[in-house]
């Protein structure tokens, strides 16, 4: 640019030095014009030189700051030692004080020493918090997880019960590099059916699971098996999943089974999205199928004898779930509302065997069918930073039963008291305070009507705290 201007100027100067041939006036005009051009070009050259100098200076200073930034950034990097590969470790501590108007360890309607259970259905046998009156230690959960390599991630979660038993809650690997929306999980994991099933107790909004979960999944459905998931390439969130394996606990009893094959299985579909910037939702439908064999439970028959009964057949559970979250401007820091509801329907058909050990009236088997539904709905309102209040309503329907042993006159309904028709209900309210993302203290009251003729008023004061790695929670 500069060089061109200079050569142009040189040309102008050469032009100016050509001997005058035109008239003096013309010559004078031409000279003035050339002088003006010369002046204007000189100004432009000066301006360009100034700009060049400025740019160079700026570039130099930019390089210097960039160099400093680079040096500082390098200083930021942690030293590359073997311990830098430590997995993410976190520990959940939980404990509570309970006041209950009924003895939580004993079923007041039946024999002493028998655990309390929900009336009107084959018992799930899972934990029905609170475990005992007064001081209880919750489960301590130790979680270790990390990416194994670019293809897999591993997760291990052990729960140490207050009775000093260690249980492996989750121990699974999952793919991270498959792409195309596909994911595979294998090992021990919580099933993706429903909404709350995958959540760990520390992430629950109440201190115990909802009644349908306690009654139908006792209280969480787990697998030793494999899960396949696919996220559709659409703007609307669509996720399809299937699971196969040895279902852990109720309503399956795959634990001790010895056979080849898929055993239990489930399928689920979730859809979700946003409404504006402040609302988001997820809805789902799930199905779980299992074939329990010799699934036993205890009951007290009409002669007041403790007998063991068993169910064998097919058990299918359908779950519909819905969650809606609102926060002003989508900013959940200072306030928000969450609505969550799930509906369950279980259908079991097969054979019921009475008194498998022939301890009372003698072993007898006949057809058995039961259909039962349950639902819960809850709302959690964060009314100011760190404070939330919530209410939950749970209910189970009275079972639609067909018991062959009673219908054909072998037994009377009094021989199978747990199956006597009843509609369990429960109201729960809570307020919790979370000083930080890592600590929460909850006060919860409940009116539990899950046993015939008994109202149990329950009070919890519960702390849940986590230390270690900053775990990210699902929606």
């Amino acid at each position: 640019m500069n060089r061109i201007s200079i050569s142009m100027l040189a040309a102008c100067a050469a032009l100016a030095s050509i001997p005058a041939v035109a008239a003096d006036a013309d010559l004078q005009a031409l000279r003035e014009e050339i002088a003006q051009m010369k002046k204007s070009y000189e100004q432009r050259i000066n301006a360009l030189e100034q700009r060049l100098a400025d740019t160079t200076r700026q570039a130099e200073s930019a390089t210097v700051t960039a160099g400093q930034a680079q040096a500082a950034a390098q200083a930021n990097r942690p030293a590359a030692t073997a311990s830098a590969f430590n997995p993410e470790i976190s520990l959940i501590l939980s404990g509570m004080y309970n006041n209950t108007s009924q003895d939580p360890r004993q079923d007041p309607t039946a024999a002493a020493g028998r655990e309390r259970r929900i009336q009107g259905l084959l018992p799930a046998g899972g934990e029905l918090n609170p475990e005992a009156r007064a001081w209880n230690l919750g489960e301590s959960e130790l979680a270790i997880s990390a990416n194994i390599d670019p293809h897999f991630r591993g997760t291990f979660l052990a729960a140490i019960s207050p009775a000093n038993e260690i249980g492996v809650e989750e121990a699974h690997i999952q793919t991270i590099g498959l792409g195309n929306g596909l994911g595979v999980k294998a090992g021990r994991f919580f099933s993706g059916v429903g909404y709350a099933n995958e959540q760990h107790p520390h992430a629950w909004d109440f201190s115990n699971a909802a009644l349908p979960y306690q009654a139908f999944f006792g209280p969480q459905l787990g697998y030793d098996g494999v899960q396949l998931k696919w996220v559709a390439p659409t703007d609307l969130f669509v996720e399809l999943g299937a699971e196969f394996g040895r279902a852990r606990g109720f309503p399956a009893n795959d634990g001790g089974r010895n056979k080849n094959g898929l055993m239990s299985g489930s399928a689920f579909a979730h859809v979700g999205g946003d409404v504006g910037v402040a609302n988001s939702w997820r809805a789902g439908a799930s199905f779980f199928a299992s074939k329990p064999r010799g699934r036993t439970y205890d009951d007290v028959d009409s002669t007041n004898t403790l007998v063991t009964n068993a169910f064998s057949g097919k058990s299918n559970t359908t779950v519909l779930d819905f969650v809606w979250k609102w926060a002003p401007e989508g900013n959940a820091r200072d306030g928000g509302f969450k609505f969550q509801s799930e509906w369950f329907r279980r259908h079991e058909s097969g054979n019921l065997t009475y008194d498998t050990t022939a301890a009372s009236l003698g072993t007898a088997t006949d057809a058995f069918r039961a259909t039962q539904t349950g639902l819960y709905a809850q709302g959690i309102w964060q009314f100011m930073p760190h404070w939330r209040a919530g209410y939950r309503y749970d209910q189970l329907s009275a079972a639609n039963l067909s018991v062959g042993l009673v219908d054909n006159g072998t037994l009377t309904a009094a021989d199978l008291p747990i199956l006597q028709s009843f509609k369990p209900r429960r109201h729960t309210a809570m307020v919790d305070y979370s000083p930080s993302e890592f600590s929460r203290i909850r006060f919860q009251v409940a009116r539990d009507q899950s046993r015939s003729g008994v109202n149990d008023n329950q009070v919890w004061v519960h702390y849940i705290m986590s230390l270690g790695a900053h775990g990210a929670h699902k929606f």
């Binding site: 700026q58 930019a62 700051t65 960039a66 400093q68 930034a69 500082a72 950034a73 930021n76 990416n147 670019p150 991630r153 999952q174 991270i176 590099g177 498959l178 792409g179 195309n180 929306g181 596909l182 994911g183 998931k229 696919w230 996220v231 559709a232 390439p233 659409t234 703007d235 609307l236 969130f237 669509v238 996720e239 979730h270 859809v271 979700g272 999205g273 946003d274 910037v277 988001s280 939702w281 997820r282 979250k325 401007e329 989508g330 900013n331 959940a332 820091r333 200072d334 930073p385 760190h386 000083p435 930080s436 993302e437 890592f438 230390l467 900053h470 990210a472 929670h473 699902k474 929606f475």
Partner: protein, 296 residues
């Protein structure tokens, strides 16, 4: 049947042929990517300027959008640690996993401040990598932009020249802006300021402002009335010129302090979209400076 299959195949192939699909965790990186990528990319932020970037949920819509993304631009330095890992894992998208070219962390390019000497949660919500709010220093966009242009070129080699040219044009405009802003703000140098949260450490560092107090007793911990009174007593003698907070932070502490100390409260847009004036990166800093200068 065959027609339907072909249509389906066309539908599935469509996103691959379209512009590079870029998803950012916060609005400022979307604005930067737009400056560099222009019409060669389709870019969106999954959060707005009015949302606390620490407290985003791994919403189903985020997972659906991450499923189709070619590139995720995050701040890093643990800012998104409570939600982004879940989104990455649940998306089933191999391209955007950490360590892949489709995952870009801005903080890797920044000069980090406030790197804690010890890591103890008793000190509040501390980030091991340093203060993650690097976006409040305009100088960072040159360095991040350069690396981002290179990353875009790596992911979309066909448009590499366009990304380099986009960055060069942006950098030219940005350097001129920086010179102008630094001249404007020269009078602010050394002025004492009270902040609500450590959101503006990098802005203060750039402008040479002196942070005399933070209203939060610990990062992420809400100030109590007693703590606020204590801070007020402490800084009264230093005559802070402003008490500032980001638009997504609760107004309570700042308003209390402003009312009781007579210090003007300034609500800064923090990022693109934080107020009506902050429409893009340049107007974000125009507005930030205008607000500080106006409240003197």
């Amino acid at each position: 049947m065959r027609k339907i299959l072909m249509m389906l195949a066309a539908l599935l192939a469509l996103p691959a042929q379209a512009a590079l699909n870029v998803l950012t965790t916060v609005p400022e990186w979307a604005a930067l990517a737009q400056e560099i990528g222009g019409d060669k990319i389709r870019v969106a932020s999954v959060t707005t300027a009015l949302q606390d970037p620490h407290r985003i949920e791994a919403r189903p819509s985020l997972i659906a959008r991450a499923r189709n993304a070619d590139l995720i631009i995050a701040t890093g330095a643990e800012l998104e640690i409570g939600w982004l890992p879940v989104v990455q894992r649940e998306s089933g998208n191999a391209r955007i996993q950490s360590g892949q070219p489709g995952y870009f962390e801005a903080a890797a390019q920044a000069r980090m401040l406030e790197i804690p000497a010890k890591l103890d949660r008793a000190d509040g919500d501390v980030h091991a990598g340093g203060n993650p709010h690097i976006n409040t220093d305009p100088r960072v966009y040159l360095k991040v932009g350069e690396a981002l242009a290179a990353r875009l070129a790596q992911l979309d080699p066909g448009n590499a020249a366009a990304y380099q040219a986009g960055y060069a044009a942006f950098a030219g405009r940005w350097r001129a802006n920086l010179a102008r802003w630094e001249k404007q703000a020269a009078a602010l140098r050394g002025q004492p300021v009270v902040v609500q949260h450590k959101s503006f450490t990098y802005l203060l560092d750039w402008l040479g402002l002196k942070e005399v107090a933070t209203l939060e007793p610990k990062p992420g911990v809400e100030a109590s009335a007693a703590h606020l009174s204590h801070v007020l007593e402490q800084v009264r003698g230093q005559k802070p010129r402003w008490v500032i907070r980001a638009v997504w932070e609760s107004s309570r502490a700042t308003d209390w302090f402003a009312a009781n100390s007579g210090t003007p409260a300034v609500v800064l847009p923090f990022t693109v979209g934080g107020n009506d004036a902050a429409k893009d990166l340049a107007s974000l800093f125009d507005d930030t400076l205008a607000r500080l200068l106006a409240a003197r």
